[in-house]
């Protein structure tokens, strides 16, 4: 019964968006209750659908959208296990963050605009999740990007916010264009397959060309090289959206937006859309040929390496940032890298289990990272600065925030007790990823992704506890009187903390449910399911050990202060400089490629060609002046003497007569 109203999941927040946009200013709290009610409605419908379809139902609804000739695009809804877990997570986290924002944004004069935009964002994000075809997916994906652009630039009067918004949109746009190119190539492949009578491939009734179902069914018929290109282009889109190397630079800058936006969009939901895309089209990735490494589909190999490298790369920068939100932003990039790593490595050896592993980390990450951001927001709200060097000693003043943030940090660092299966959400999810990477190493003999994952885990633990110790312990470093946030803000914190602690225990059920996704869709993955996995004790223990070691390092340095960090973090230290300047990514990306190459070189060359060559040389110098010179010569004929004109006239008549005589032979 709930499934009949699946479309309302998206439509409710859209309605809330329109109402808030136009009426919000007149309503209390900027009309915040409209989106809250709408998203609560979406959550209830999602939960209802989940109860209806669990464990092996699928909801599919489709209507034709626009058609031209033989191929029809459609709009539709597909709720399978993959979608429903995302749906529940997004509606729930979005709901909590909206409630939190009532308190957090209470002093902002433009809060109705804020709630309108987040409402639209939620609608678009839900539409991404629900899409049953790649075109609607892409459209929603772009709308999500625009909302992100608007919300990063929410305080548009700040030049840094306006610049960050632009950067975010442009960098993700690079990925989007790759994604679009992938869709273009896919469409052409599919159309050729359908048109070719030799293939006997037909789209089932009620299905359409760019639907996931059609795509998956056509996989065996798609040319293998083309498939690699298509999946890699899709992955390009995911790289942009999920802030993977080399398109990661926008995400830390995106922290210019309100903290709630960072929590909702740039931690829990939108940035995971890239991972969701790879998971959604996983059968295509898994079907790519293994030309580079034996037994590993090329596309998955790329996913694994980019993901693993990003996990490590971003964690190193997280170590040195002083802005509390930037640390968390790099942490997000790094964790997204883990999710990609899981899809790549486990995908290659464990098949569809990888989707379960990756999605589980995605969900638990959403909980603890949203929690971290909301705690950070609570701290910023109280202290009035983002700089952790100016915080300190907040534990006694903000107990709820401190404790919930500590729980989130534990979860992020993946602390738990192996063998007893007790631990935080992050413990279960990250362990599985690292073990998956080890399994991949065992099978293929390529241990590099595993090494990435373990080192990144150590760094993760260090930077997050560094953050916590610097903010909450030690002596207060600012004069400001800080106080705990109001309960409208702390209650969401506590709910998320509970989830960050206990969500992990759902892992067995979760894996089984999400893994079954592609079977339910009727897709043969064609990846061999590996041998039952029996890792050695050290492999099981290692992730937790590095987590604890990281905690101890942070404790000793930032709480006990056995080392004076100020000596190491001097501007002379080249390594520190490299990290602190973010590997010079903003310089290379924005200044060199954006301004120098594109604007100064390419655009100015064009301007030169336009003004000097086309207008100047060709038009002015060659064409205009030639005509002018001809005129100069011919005007001399205008002597002003009537007799000359008369002579020329008579000559002309004579000439005509001669011509007539020649042509017609008589006058």
């Amino acid at each position: 019964m709930f499934s009949d109203f699946a479309a309302l999941i998206v439509l409710l927040p859209v309605i809330a968006f329109v109402l808030t946009l136009f009426l919000g200013k007149k309503l209390p709290h900027g009309g915040a209750y409209l989106p809250i009610a709408a998203i609560a409605g979406s959550f209830i419908i999602s939960a209802g659908i989940f109860l209806e379809i669990y464990p092996e139902g699928i909801v599919q609804q489709s209507i034709p959208w626009f058609s031209s000739g033989s191929s029809t695009m459609n709009m539709g809804i597909l709720i399978d296990p993959l979608a429903i877990v995302m749906l529940l997570m997004v509606t729930f986290v979005s709901l909590l963050i909206h409630i939190y924002a009532v308190g957090y944004m209470s002093h902002d004069p433009a809060k109705s605009r804020y709630f309108a935009e987040t409402s639209l964002f939620t609608a678009a994000m839900l539409s991404v999740i629900l899409s049953d075809n790649i075109l609607q997916f892409f459209i929603s994906w772009e709308v999500v990007g625009v909302c992100s652009f608007l919300l990063i630039g929410f305080w548009y009067h700040k030049p840094s916010a306006a610049a960050a918004a632009k950067k975010a949109f442009l960098v993700t746009r690079i990925g989007d264009v790759l994604f679009l190119a992938g869709i273009v190539m896919l469409y052409v492949e599919l159309a050729r397959i359908i048109e070719n009578p030799a293939n006997a491939f037909e789209i089932g009734s009620g299905n359409f060309i760019l639907q996931f179902k059609t795509m998956f069914e056509a996989i065996p018929l798609i040319d293998k090289t083309q498939l690699t290109y298509i999946t890699l282009l899709f992955f390009g889109g995911a790289v942009g959206k999920s802030g993977q190397f080399p398109l990661h630079g926008w995400l830390p800058d995106a922290m210019e937006g309100p903290t709630t936006v960072s929590a909702l969009i740039h931690a829990a939901t939108m940035v995971t859309a890239g991972v969701y895309l790879v998971a959604r089209t996983f059968p295509m990735f898994a079907a790519t040929p293994d030309t580079i490494s034996h037994g590993v589909p090329d596309a998955l190999l790329v996913v694994a390496y980019i993901g693993g490298f990003t996990a490590l790369f971003a964690a190193t920068m997280g170590l040195v940032m002083n802005d509390i939100k930037r640390v968390l932003a790099y942490s997000t990039v790094s964790q997204l890298g883990y999710m990609m790593l899981a899809l790549g490595t486990a995908g290659a050896v464990l098949g569809s289990k990888a989707v379960g592993i990756s999605m589980f980390h995605l969900i638990s990450h959403a909980f603890f990272k949203a929690l971290l951001f909301l705690c950070a927001g609570s701290v910023i709200h109280a202290v009035g600065t983002n700089d952790i060097r100016e915080m300190g000693g907040l534990f006694s003043k903000m107990k709820i925030t401190a404790v919930t943030m500590f729980i989130a940090a534990l979860s992020l660092a993946g602390i738990g007790i192996p063998f007893l299966n007790i631990g935080t959400a992050g413990f279960f999810s990250k362990d599985m990823i690292i073990e998956g990477a080890f399994e991949y190493g065992e099978v293929t003999g390529d241990m590099i992704p595993y090494a990435f994952a373990v080192i990144a885990a150590l760094l993760t633990s260090i930077y997050i506890f560094r953050l916590w110790f610097m903010a909450f312990t030690g002596k207060p470093r600012s004069e400001r009187h800080s106080h705990e946030s109001p309960s409208v803000m702390t209650i969401p914190l506590m709910i998320l903390a509970v989830l960050a602690l206990f969500f992990g225990f759902s892992h067995t059920g979760f894996y089984g449910y999400v893994e079954s996704n592609f079977e339910l869709m009727g897709v043969d993955l064609g990846v061999h399911e590996g041998e039952p996995f029996h890792p050695s004790v050290i492999v099981i223990l290692l992730p937790v050990i590095v987590g604890v070691v990281g905690f101890l390092i942070a404790y000793l340095i930032y709480n006990k202060r056995i080392l004076d960090m100020s000596k190491i973090i001097s501007s002379q230290n080249p390594l520190y400089k490299l990290l602190y300047n973010r590997y010079y990514e903003p310089k290379i990306g924005a200044d060199l490629i954006g301004v120098k190459l594109t604007h100064d070189v390419a655009a100015q060359t064009g301007e030169f060609i336009d003004r000097k060559i086309i207008d100047g040389l060709v038009i002015d110098t060659i064409i205009s002046s030639t005509i002018f010179k001809i005129g100069e010569v011919i005007r001399k004929m205008q002597t002003g003497v009537v007799q000359n004109y008369a002579s020329i006239t008579i000559l002309g008549v004579a000439l005509l007569l001669v011509l007539l005589r020649l042509e017609f032979g008589g006058i």
């Binding site: 626009f66 031209s68 000739g69 033989s70 191929s71 075109l135 892409f138 459209i139 929603s140 772009e142 709308v143 625009v146 652009f149 630039g153 548009y156 009067h157 700040k158 030049p159 916010a161 306006a162 610049a163 918004a165 632009k166 949109f169 442009l170 746009r173 690079i174 264009v177 679009l180 190119a181 869709i183 273009v184 190539m185 469409y187 052409v188 159309a191 050729r192 048109e195 954006g594 594109t598 604007h599 390419a602 655009a603 100015q604 060359t605 064009g606 301007e607 336009d610 086309i614 207008d615 060709v618 038009i619």
Partner: protein, 505 residues
């Protein structure tokens, strides 16, 4: 039903004359608005009675005019012309309404706008090459005066440049039309300027223009193509456009970009595509058109990046967007052609918003130089809202009409012109780049106090733009009403090209 088209054209012509004679500004603008709305109503009536499942001409009417040389006043609409007539009738009333506050010689101003409506509707409906050419030239004159009377500081230069460029192109086209005419006369022995007869007679044209260099067929094809791509405009014949836009008054810019450029694209579909498959060197011609299209897309984009003047930037973006029309037409796949037609329609709506935004900013802040603006969102929230939506539509945001068009063109052109499509895709990132850069510098950021106190756009200005925004959104979410009209005709056009490239999807 007969006579609706000529009624529409005559009403706008009569309205233009009455507006010229009007005594006061109040009378002039009221007459102009009412006339254009009547014309819109007739266009809507035609639209409702239009059968989008057939590709033949509908609402055909024919009156004898100069029988001795075979000129008839013949009008009709099919899926190529109908959307553009609709577009013209949407744009003109909104332009009149947007320019509600014009004070300088109002009767002539509004009269010329209505005359533009007459001209473009004539171009989009006439089925006789002679009449087509007359309307084609009529369009030039009001625009020349709009630029040269109400224009900016370099208006004389811009107006004369506009006139010379487009007029030279028209003359070349006229020569090609005469070649077709005499060819047809020689074959059938009957004088006729009927468009379809002439285009059909192209198939059996032979002979050389210059022996061993270029055949007559190719020369005629190139002459017609030249006439149209200058109007579009395509690189390298585009430099008149930025100058004309920079100097033109806002209403002039809107009409120029939204309607006059579409005449070039219309020519591609109406004239070029039916004869393209029969041209002697069709492979070269297709490649030529594809190159022109892609170069326009990329070149326009990079030039837009280099501009300091907001309006000039928008002008270059028009060049870039019209490149998709040429590319889609060159690809000769049914959906790429209908995508190109849809791009014409959609760009007409979007570019209206952009030029109106520039006009409001110029009017309010006194400058359009991006570096001199900054933070105007603070005092112009309403403008910022519609302008942002317009810019997002222009950069091809899904959910807006521009995306449907570009998506159809890119996807379907990939069948036959994959390399060109990949090149065009590069442009998309930079397209987003200049739009966002301009927004960031001009509209967002800290307010530039040097601008003094500025005010938001007038209600009638914002309302005109908001209507366009709503239309852009509507046609982005539900393209069917317009797209369906185009599809049948696009298929019809491409039918000839089957086997040309070995692909027909």
């Amino acid at each position: 039903m007969a006579g609706l088209i000529s009624l529409m054209i005559l009403i706008s012509l009569a309205g233009a004359l009455i507006t010229f004679l009007a005594k006061t500004r109040e009378q002039a603008r009221t007459v102009a608005l009412i006339t254009s709305i009547i014309s819109l109503a007739i266009a809507l009536k035609i639209f409702l009675g239009f059968d989008s499942s057939i590709s033949t001409m509908q609402f055909v009417e024919s009156y004898s005019w100069i029988p001795s040389i075979g000129v008839t006043l013949k009008f009709g609409l099919d899926g190529i012309g109908m959307p553009l007539v609709l577009l013209a009738n949407i744009i003109i009333p909104l332009t009149v309404f947007f320019a509600w506050g014009e004070t300088k010689e109002a009767n002539r101003f509004y009269g010329l706008i209505l005359l533009e409506l007459t001209g473009v509707m004539g171009v989009f409906t006439s089925l006789d090459f002679f009449v087509f050419y007359i309307f084609w030239e009529i369009v030039l004159i009001p625009m020349y005066f709009l630029i040269s009377i109400w224009g900016g500081p370099r208006k004389e230069y811009a107006a004369i440049k506009f006139f010379i460029y487009t007029h030279v192109a028209s003359l070349v086209m006229l020569l090609a039309i005469f070649a077709l005419y005499f060819n047809s006369l020689g074959i059938t022995g009957r004088a006729s300027f009927d468009m379809f007869e002439l285009l059909k007679s192209y198939q059996v044209m032979d002979g050389d223009l210059i022996r061993g260099v270029i055949s007559l067929k190719d020369a005629v094809f190139l002459g017609l193509l030249f006439g149209f791509i200058v109007k579009m405009p395509a690189v390298p014949f585009h430099t008149w456009l930025p100058d004309a836009h920079v100097e033109a008054p806002t209403a002039g810019s809107v009409i120029l970009a939204a309607l006059l450029l579409k005449m070039g694209g219309y020519g591609l579909f109406r004239v070029i595509l039916p004869i393209l498959p029969f041209s002697d060197s069709k492979g070269i011609m297709i490649t030529l058109m594809a190159i022109i299209g892609v170069v326009s897309i990329l070149y326009g984009t990079f030039l837009a990046l280099a501009q300091r003047d907001l309006k000039k930037m928008v002008a270059y973006s028009s060049i870039s967007h019209m490149g998709y029309v040429t590319l889609g037409a060159a690809a000769l796949v049914p959906l790429s052609v209908s995508g190109a037609m849809y791009q014409q329609f959609s760009h007409g709506l979007i570019t209206g918003i952009l030029f109106m935004s520039c006009g409001v900013i110029q009017h309010s802040a006194g400058t359009r130089i991006i570096h001199d603006l900054g933070g105007i969102a603070k005092y112009m929230p309403k403008l910022t809202f519609v302008m942002l939506l317009g810019f997002l539509a222009s950069l091809g945001l899904p959910g807006m009409s521009g995306f449907i068009a570009e998506f159809l063109v890119l996807v379907n052109s990939y069948f036959t012109l994959p390399t060109f499509v990949i090149l065009a895709l590069f442009g998309i990132v930079f397209t987003a780049g200049y739009h966002l850069w301009a927004m960031q510098r001009a509209v967002f950021g800290t307010y530039n106090e040097k601008l003094g106190h500025i005010h938001d756009g007038a209600n009638y200005e914002i309302a005109s733009m908001a209507i366009l925004v709503l239309l852009v959104l509507y046609f982005g979410l539900n393209p069917n009403p317009v797209l369906n009209m185009m599809t049948v005709n696009a298929e019809q056009l491409v039918k000839f090209a089957v086997g040309l490239r070995g692909v027909m999807i």
